[in-house]
Symmetry: C2
C-alpha cells in the first residue's frame, strides 16, 4: 500500500473513546514526538474511538454493567484486522487488572500477534530511567484506578513510597474534576473549566505537602488540564506522552525525537 | 458491540495523513460539535492516518508519482471494512477531480455502500445557506487546489465571483506557508511558526483589498494557523469544521450542536 519513496510502515493501533479527547491527545503526541518534515515522514496510526466501551470506574467500583474488557478486546481485534502490529489504550483505569487481565487473556486465547504496550509499565520505566534517586511518587487518578491500585501496586513493588489523595479530596476534587457532567474534563475539555483545573491544583498541592517528589497524572484526562511540565516545583509525569513515545519506539525507533525535560 | 445504554452508532470514517494534524483537527471538530457530557455520548469515529498517500500537489502540478487516488481508495475500503458507513477526506487538494473522480469511480466499481461527504460541496452549501447575499469569495489553498480549480469552478458555477492570490503571492506566501520544510505548517504546526502565520495574513489582506467578502481557508492546514472567526473584518470559512458538522448530520443529526457565529 506504500509508494516506493516511503519506508514500509508498521501500523500503530489506538483504542480511543476513553475519553475521546484523551485518544486524540495520544495520537497528537505520537505525531509530535516523530521526526518529520512532510506528511510522508509521519507514522501510520489507526484510531478507533468508540462510545461503546462501558465506563471503567463504574464497573470497578459499583460492579455495574458488563466488564469493559470485552469491548476493548473487540476494538483491539478490529485494529489488528486493519493492520495494526502494536497497540495502546489511552485510559489508565482500563489497565486495572480486573479489566486488562481479561483483555490480555482474550488476546492470548485468540492467538493474536498484536503487541500490547502498557501505559502503566511505560510510566514506571520512565521514572526508573529518568529519576534514579526518586523515593516518593504522588499519583492522581480516577477513584477506580486508585482503589484497584493500578499505579500503587506496581510502584510499591518497585520500592517507591506512594502518595495519593485521601477519600474526601479524591471524591470532591479529583474524581469530579474528571467526571462531573457540568464542569468535569469529560464534559468540557475545550477548554478545560477553571473549576476542574483549580480542583486538580488543590490535589497537587496536597501531594506536594505530603512529600511527593514527582506526580503521575494517572488519568488520561488530567494532561488535558495540566500541560505544564512543573507544578508547585514538582515534575508532572504524563503517561500519555510516555505511551506515545513507547509506540514509536516499538515501531520506528529511528524516528523518535529526543526526550524533552520531563 | 454496544451496551444497552448507548444508542446504536453509525461509524464515521476519516482518511487521515493529509496532513496528519489536519486529520486530527477533523476528528477534534467532530467531537467538539457533538452534544455530549460523558464518553458514551460521543460518536463512533475511525481515523486511519497513513503516510503512504503520495503528495497531492506534486502529482497534480508535476505529474510525478502515482495518482494518490489509489491509496485513498484503499484507505476508504479499509475504513468501510472496519464498519464505517460514511467517510470524509480532510484534504481539499485530494478533492481535485483528477484525484477524487478516480476514487469515486473505484468505489462505484467495487459496489461500495460507503457514503462519501465532500468538503468542497459542504463549504459551498454553507456559503449559500449562511450568506445569502454573498457575491465575492476569496479562496486560499495549495497551488494544486488553485490550478485544478477545486473551489473556483464550483463556486463560479454557483454564480460567485472568485478571488485568489496571483502567482507570486501564491508561491512565495501561501504554498510555502503550507509546505516549506523549515517553517511551513506541514513541518511545524505545534505551534505554527510566526512566518507561516504572517505570510498567510499577507495573502488574506490581498484578498480583502481585491474585494473578497469572506475567505475560504481551502487547505486543511490553514485552519491550524488561523483559528480566528474573523480576520481583517472578513469571516474565515473553515471547511474542516463544515465537513465535521456534515459527518455528524449524516450519522447522528440529533447530536449536532447549533452552529456558532461563523
Amino acid at each position: 500500500m506504500q509508494p516506493e519513496e516511503t519506508a514500509p510502515y508498521k501500523r500503530i493501533g489506538i483504542v480511543g473513546g476513553m475519553g475521546p479527547y484523551a485518544g486524540l491527545d495520544l495520537v497528537k503526541k505520537v505525531f509530535d514526538q516523530t521526526v518529520a518534515a512532510r506528511d510522508q515522514d509521519h507514522l501510520d496510526v489507526i484510531l478507533l474511538s468508540t462510545p461503546s466501551v462501558p465506563d471503567r470506574t463504574r464497573f470497578l467500583l459499583e460492579g455495574k454493567g458488563e466488564n469493559p474488557a470485552h469491548v476493548i478486546f473487540q476494538v483491539l481485534e478490529s485494529l489488528e484486522a486493519s493492520g495494526a502490529v502494536v497497540a495502546g489504550i489511552p485510559c489508565n483505569t482500563a489497565h486495572s487488572p480486573r479489566i486488562l487481565d481479561v483483555v490480555l487473556r482474550e488476546l492470548t486465547e485468540t492467538q493474536s500477534t498484536l503487541r500490547f504496550v502498557s501505559i502503566i509499565e511505560e510510566t514506571i520505566r520512565h521514572l526508573r530511567e529518568r529519576f534514579p534517586n526518586l523515593r516518593t511518587v504522588g499519583v492522581l487518578s480516577t477513584t477506580g484506578t486508585l482503589r484497584t491500585k493500578v499505579y500503587s501496586d506496581p510502584l510499591r513493588r518497585h520500592g517507591y513510597h506512594v502518595i495519593e489523595p485521601g477519600e474526601a479530596l479524591q471524591e470532591e476534587c479529583v474524581q469530579k474534576a474528571i467526571y462531573d457532567t457540568t464542569y468535569g474534563i469529560k464534559a468540557e475539555s475545550n477548554p478545560v473549566t477553571a473549576k476542574a483545573r483549580s480542583d486538580i491544583e488543590r490535589a497537587l498541592s496536597y501531594l506536594k505537602d505530603e512529600g511527593a517528589e514527582v506526580v503521575v497524572l494517572g488519568c488520561t484526562e488530567l494532561p488535558l488540564a495540566i500541560s505544564d511540565p512543573l507544578m508547585f516545583g514538582l515534575p508532572m509525569i504524563d503517561p500519555t506522552l510516555l505511551l506515545a513515545r513507547a509506540l514509536i519506539r516499538e515501531t520506528h525507533p529511528e524516528k523518535l525525537k529526543p526526550l524533552g525535560k520531563t
